[in-house]
């Protein structure tokens, strides 16, 4: 029977997994994340097909890894491009559905009694106690209930037979559970209902808006109407006044037009782009030249203690970047940094590394060279070992010195196979967000720019500031700039693939 059981078990398991997956996808779709839900639906379908069809055997081994890469690497990239075409920002944060629900949950205080509310513990549950603020009607108490995730729900309140004695909920907990309590409608003995209107207050409250069939909202207090405007991403009054919260809508190419035409945006962006180029090319030049010279020296057989030097010089590569960058941030500190301490003792100068744009850029390059040369050194050492020794013997016979050897034999022979690595190093530094963000944070800033932009900002740190540090949270604009950077990186990659091919061809 085990065979028959297996034959039955496998499809059963598959269907079960499919159902569980569908439940989650529906839940995600219900929050208005249709794009993500769609991606997950495709993934689920692919999963079921691959693990049930015998034709797709090889893909069963690939699916988990490739699936994760597609969902968590490729999808976010495509989604970034998508966001670049929307007005997603702190003002237009919610999806249309959630913004509508937010407005529909708004209440206003209607005529009726006001109660002072307290919550009292009872066997791990809580009782709500409502005391008439004017002392007209009796004090009301609900049955004990559990506090859970926010949801709309109702409970009855009855006149208290005995006074509630349980310990009162602290203000901090009250604030923490506020969302849950806001979903509560308390039914009064006389048929009325009250909602939470303040942290310690329940009163008759009615929904502020009613949803009409045409998608507009009617204000129950003054009967005015709100219409959703899908151009601006706001509900608007008849007078065209926007009502918060806004929602996310497509705005087409607006961000891209702004990037290339809006003077207030284009000027800092152009400067940042130039600095990004300068920063990454100089880093590659410095790291490679230092690394290559060291590699030559460390391959020189007449030199002793080479393994000791190698170990020490490798250290910067082994120390976690976020630590060494922050150490440098402290060491370079204008007033109390140890580097200025040494400089002022030796030369009597105290450079302002963090407030002068040029010095800040110099510091960034020094730190990045410190971080990056060991990698180039190790790579070059491997490449130099591969150069046949008879070349040097021949040049020694011809009477060439070490400099001639370096410039005529070593460098040309190393540079060719190194080119693809140089390009990928360039691409890496082009997006070296961690260095800029932890060392200077882009500062010092340009003066007179629309959004804060730093003289040491590179493109990616600029978009990060735009999206996560400014009060504006301009996700849409940040995503549009990211998309432009995507294209730049893609161009660099194409050049790299070409260079790799050339490096390979010459090897054969």
């Amino acid at each position: 029977m085990p065979d028959a059981l297996k034959r039955f078990l496998q499809p059963a398991l598959m269907i079960l997994l499919g159902l569980v997956g569908l439940y989650f996808i529906t839940a995600i779709y219900a929050t208005g994340e249709s794009l993500l839900a769609g991606v997950m639906l495709v993934t689920l379908a692919a999963f079921i097909w691959i693990y049930s069809s015998p034709k797709t055997y090889a893909y069963r081994y690939l699916f988990p890894g490739i699936g994760a890469a597609l969902i968590f690497v490729v999808f976010p990239m495509l989604y970034t491009v998508r966001i670049g075409f929307t007005n997603y920002s702190s003002k237009n944060l919610l999806t249309f559905k959630r913004a509508t629900n937010y407005l529909l949950e708004e209440t206003y205080r209607a005529e009726g009694p006001t109660y002072t509310s307290t919550l009292h513990a009872e066997d791990g549950k809580w009782r709500l106690r409502l005391e008439d603020a004017e002392g007209v009607s009796a004090t009301l108490v609900t049955e004990p209930f559990l506090i859970g995730p926010p949801k709309p729900w109702t409970i009855r309140a009855e006149p208290a037979a005995t006074p509630v004695m349980g310990e009162e909920m602290t203000l901090k907990d009250l604030i923490d559970h506020q969302l849950f309590l806001k979903g509560l409608v308390v039914l009064l003995p006389n048929g009325g209902q009250v909602r939470m209107t303040g942290l310690r207050e329940f009163a008759s409250a009615r929904a502020l808006y009613t949803l009409n069939k045409d998608g507009s909202l009617t204000n129950n207090q003054d009967q005015s109407r709100l219409n959703p405007n899908f151009k601006t991403g706001f509900y608007e009054t008849a007078g065209g006044e926007a009502v918060d919260p806004g929602f996310q809508v497509d705005i087409g190419w607006k961000h891209y037009v702004d990037i290339f035409t809006d003077e207030a945006l284009r000027e800092p962006l152009w400067k940042i782009f130039i600095w990004t180029l300068v920063f990454s090319s100089l880093t590659v030049v410095f790291c490679t030249s230092l690394g290559m010279v060291l590699a030559v020296l460390l391959n020189w057989e007449n030199l002793r203690f080479r393994s000791v030097y190698r170990l020490v010089l490798f250290l910067p590569y082994a120390i976690p970047g976020f630590i060494s960058i922050l150490v440098f941030k402290g060491l370079f500190n204008n007033n109390s940094g140890e580097i200025n301490l040494v400089l002022s003792t030796l030369f009597g100068v105290k450079p302002t590394w963090f407030s002068d744009p040029f010095l800040a850029k110099t510091m960034i390059l020094i730190v990045n060279t410190w971080l990056g040369f060991p990698y180039m050194m190790i790579v070059c050492m491997g490449l130099i070992k591969a150069i046949p020794n008879d070349l040097y013997e021949a040049s020694a016979v011809a009477g060439a010195g070490p400099l001639t050897n370096f410039f005529r034999i070593t460098m040309p022979l190393v540079l060719k196979p190194l080119t693809p690595l140089l390009i990928s190093s360039f691409a890496f530094n082009f997006n070296n967000f961690v260095l800029i963000s932890l060392l200077t944070g882009g500062l010092p800033d340009f003066l007179n720019t629309a959004t804060p932009a730093g003289t040491t900002d590179i493109l990616v740190s600029y978009t990060y500031r735009m999206a996560f540090q400014d009060s504006g949270q301009k996700f849409g604009l940040g995503a549009a700039i990211s998309t432009v950077v995507f294209l730049l990186v893609a161009a660099i990659s194409i050049i790299q693939i070409r260079a790799t091919r050339i490096a390979e061809d010459t090897k054969r």
Partner: protein, 296 residues
């Protein structure tokens, strides 16, 4: 090369040594400074590079022990360093385990099986690696913050969100493991298949035990990668108690609250183990990097 060592040669050796020693000093300066700063009393003390008196106050701070100030006040450390370290270890172990799990099977298919789209998939993985995660940061933040509304377990501030976000970056690991599988002759598994093993059994019982060393290396590399990752962690983790070391460290050096000495102790505490592990596994990584350069 048996060349007679002449006078100019001797000068050159001396110069080379001087150059290398100077450079080693520059490399070691920040490292030794950090050790010295962590042992020097006070967070603002300047004037000496070598501490005149040894104080363990910064190490007590990093370990979360109460510190008695010079004026007698007791300070309870407000930056939970050990907690951050534990968060880092937790997230990194989980995501390294996920990375090994996902990449080892994929590498098996790439090295031993024939299927449509193999070459395209390999090139695609390589290309994917060229685009840094930082470019998709806005989307990652948006996806997880919205997922969190429905499933708080994978929302902002959840270590699971971070593990998920890291699980896609396995292209390099697939290449590394694939390279190792290809050094193992396929005849061994073929023999097992002849004896009636399914491809899965050949993989699980025969190939995988032989590949354990490389899986260990990939685990450690993924572990280090996750510990050192800063951008995604800084965007997905917000509350003080959930931060990883990489996301939390910068809080030591805010201009308003400059804890230079405490930072140095915390930096050594978290950096030393990682650096040692890194030096132990680096030769596999370097060989992977250079072979990638040659093979493309």
């Amino acid at each position: 090369m048996a060349i007679v060592i002449d006078k100019s040669q001797r000068w050159r050796v001396l110069l080379a040594h001087l150059f290398l020693i100077a450079l080693c000093a520059l490399v070691l300066f920040p490292v030794l400074m950090t050790v010295s700063i962590s042992l020097r009393p006070g967070n603002f003390a300047t004037g000496s590079l070598i501490p005149k008196e040894i104080s363990l106050e910064h190490w007590r701070f990093a370990l979360g022990l109460p510190v008695t100030n010079a004026d007698g006040r007791v300070i309870i450390p407000d930056l939970p360093v050990l907690r951050w370290l534990w968060n880092s270890v937790k997230v990194a172990s989980l995501s390294a385990a996920v990375a090994v799990l996902l990449s080892t099977t994929a590498a098996y298919a790439f090295s031993r099986m024939k299927f449509a789209g193999k070459k395209a998939a390999l090139v695609g993985l390589m290309l994917m690696q060229m685009f840094p995660t930082i470019l998709a940061l806005i989307a990652i933040h948006s996806i997880f913050s919205r997922l969190g509304h429905t499933f708080p377990l994978v929302g902002i501030d959840s270590p699971w969100a971070l593990v998920l976000a890291y699980s896609g970056g396995i292209a390099l690991h697939i290449w590394t493991i694939k390279g190792f599988y290809e050094t193992i002759p396929g005849e061994i598994e073929e023999a097992a298949t002849v004896d009636g093993a399914t491809p899965w059994q050949a993989f699980w019982r025969v190939l995988l035990p032989m590949a354990l060393p490389i899986l260990m290396v990939v685990f450690l590399l993924a572990f280090i990668g996750a510990v050192n990752e800063y951008p995604v962690a800084s965007v997905l983790l917000r509350s003080q108690d959930q931060l990883t070391m990489a996301a939390g460290m910068k809080q030591f050096l805010y201009a308003q609250k400059y804890l230079w000495g405490d930072f140095a102790a915390a930096a050594i505490l978290s950096g030393l183990p990682i650096s040692i592990v890194f030096i132990l596994v680096q030769r596999w990584m370097i060989s992977g990097l250079t072979s990638g350069a040659n093979k493309g």
